[in-house]
């Protein structure tokens, strides 16, 4: 249940990805190869950061790209940009793997959607290229206090909940909640300011 409005962008990168995904529907191997070459590094980097194990990470990268190849129709370009969608898919698969491995499926048991939820591209998104945005994300996160940054990383890379983070960091639950929300809002403002 994630119907949202997608703000169209004239970004060439976005439209190139969308065009490549459309070609996947025609079983175009060259389009797949180009998508892989464009995005496999960030997908692998994300999955390896979550799993901390290169061999298993490559297995999950393979799963992600084969899922894209076999189910390209499930990506709807009118409902959001491609790369965040792909990264959400990659993160979900890696966290699933992490949970399978550690046998702690204590959370998100009701999260059954195969597809990542739709993401909406903010108006400013198309004006930043990927490298600048990556640099900006790192800058903003580095400006947070270390515990705040750690709380967000525990949630994003390790799939921990507010309570689990509070336990891990030995901080009050309310503090952790504020850190995470305010940190994400800072990140949003930081990316807007750069655009």
């Amino acid at each position: 249940m994630f119907l949202v409005v997608f703000t169209p962008s004239d970004s060439r990168e976005v439209s190139l990805d969308a065009a490549l995904v459309r070609r996947l529907l025609q079983r175009d191997v060259n389009a797949f190869e180009e998508l892989y070459d464009r995005h496999s590094r960030i997908v692998f980097a994300l999955i390896q950061r979550i799993l901390q194990q290169a061999a298993t990470s490559e297995e999950v990268v393979q799963d992600v790209f084969l899922a894209l190849w076999r189910n390209a129709a499930q990506y709807d370009e009118s409902r959001g940009p491609f790369v965040p969608w792909l990264l959400t898919l990659a993160r979900n698969r890696a966290l699933d793997q992490l949970r399978l491995k550690s046998e702690r499926q204590r959370r998100r048991e009701d999260q059954t959607e195969e597809l990542p939820p739709v993401v909406t591209m903010p108006d400013f998104e198309g004006s930043l290229d990927e490298q600048r945005r990556a640099r900006r994300v790192r800058e903003v996160m580095a400006s947070l206090n270390p515990q705040q940054k750690r709380a967000i990383e525990l949630a994003y890379f390790e799939g921990l909940s507010h309570s689990e983070i509070a336990n891990a960091l030995k901080e009050p639950l309310g503090t952790v909640k504020s850190w995470i929300r305010n940190g994400l809002l800072r990140l949003k403002e930081g990316l807007q300011a750069t655009s």
Partner: protein, 268 residues
């Protein structure tokens, strides 16, 4: 502020954490129920938050997957394209679809029952898919373990001792099987400092050729090192030695330190 706004605001404050997957189950269920009501503002905020959360991927240290993965993936994709299997196979067993049809037929006579029953079916389906995922993962791990066992025991495999130049370092043993891959293993290895990792390199026979980067791995807490490189390229025939260096987390495109372990590959 209208009454509706007063009710909606508490949920709006949870949307970022919901997108991050950080809410505890109770809050998560409450937000999901609220979104199911179709609140346009929260739904829009969720889409934007999903985008924002996805940007955190750029915090991951840069890393490049191996060329072997690319080759393996493209081979699979080319084979599937050639076979013209354009219809993706469902992971749901056929009998499950039969059960869904039967359930829906029964529920046709009662709208309320349809809703309740469909929910149950969806949960069953989710549970089944989860089960299938677990089984597939177990099968994959078992397959890797089997492959490793065959590589280590097959008389056709080539043993490549990898002594260390440092006296206090234990020797590693590489075992290469032309069809199944390469295993590098060792015991009682010290943990690389900080976030650094160990990376395997294939040193080509061709004079002046650059070392080919392979996988990275850190020893486990007991100092055990067990690296499986499935489907090594034919380039192994053109490889004169294996080397392992210490590199930054995620590996490097070319060695940045002196090899700690080196093993000569016997001529083929």
């Amino acid at each position: 502020m209208s009454n509706t706004d007063q009710i909606r605001d508490p949920f709006r404050e949870l949307i970022e954490a919901y997108a991050l997957g950080a809410l505890d189950p109770e809050d998560r269920a409450a937000v999901a129920a609220h979104l199911a009501t179709g609140c346009a503002e929260c739904t829009k905020a969720l889409g934007e938050s999903q985008w924002l959360v996805s940007q955190l991927a750029y915090l991951a240290p840069e890393a490049t997957p191996s060329e072997m993965l690319r080759g393996r993936l493209l081979k699979t994709v080319r084979e599937e394209a050639a076979a013209k299997t354009s219809t993706p196979k469902s992971s749901i067993p056929l009998w499950m679809w039969g059960a869904v049809a039967a359930v829906l037929l029964f529920a046709f006579y009662n709208v309320h029952e349809v809703r309740v029953t469909t929910n149950k079916v969806q949960k069953m389906r989710a549970a089944l898919e989860q089960q299938i995922k677990i089984q597939q993962q177990s099968a994959r791990e078992l397959e890797l373990a089997r492959r490793e066992a065959v590589i280590l025991t097959d008389p056709k495999s080539m043993k490549i001792p990898m002594p260390s130049g440092k006296e206090d370092m234990p020797m590693l043993q590489a075992t290469w099987h032309a069809e199944l891959g390469l295993v590098v293993s060792g015991q009682m290895l010290p943990m690389p400092s900080g976030n650094r990792t160990l990376q395997l390199w294939l040193i080509p026979k061709t004079p002046g050729a650059k070392p080919m980067p392979s996988l990275t791995l850190r020893p486990n807490a007991d100092g055990k090192f067990d690296l499986l490189v499935a489907n090594p390229p034919n380039a192994m025939y053109g490889t004169k030695a294996l080397a392992i260096t210490e590199e930054p987390e995620g590996g490097s495109p070319q060695p940045t330190t002196t090899p700690i372990w080196v093993g000569a590959v016997a001529g083929k």
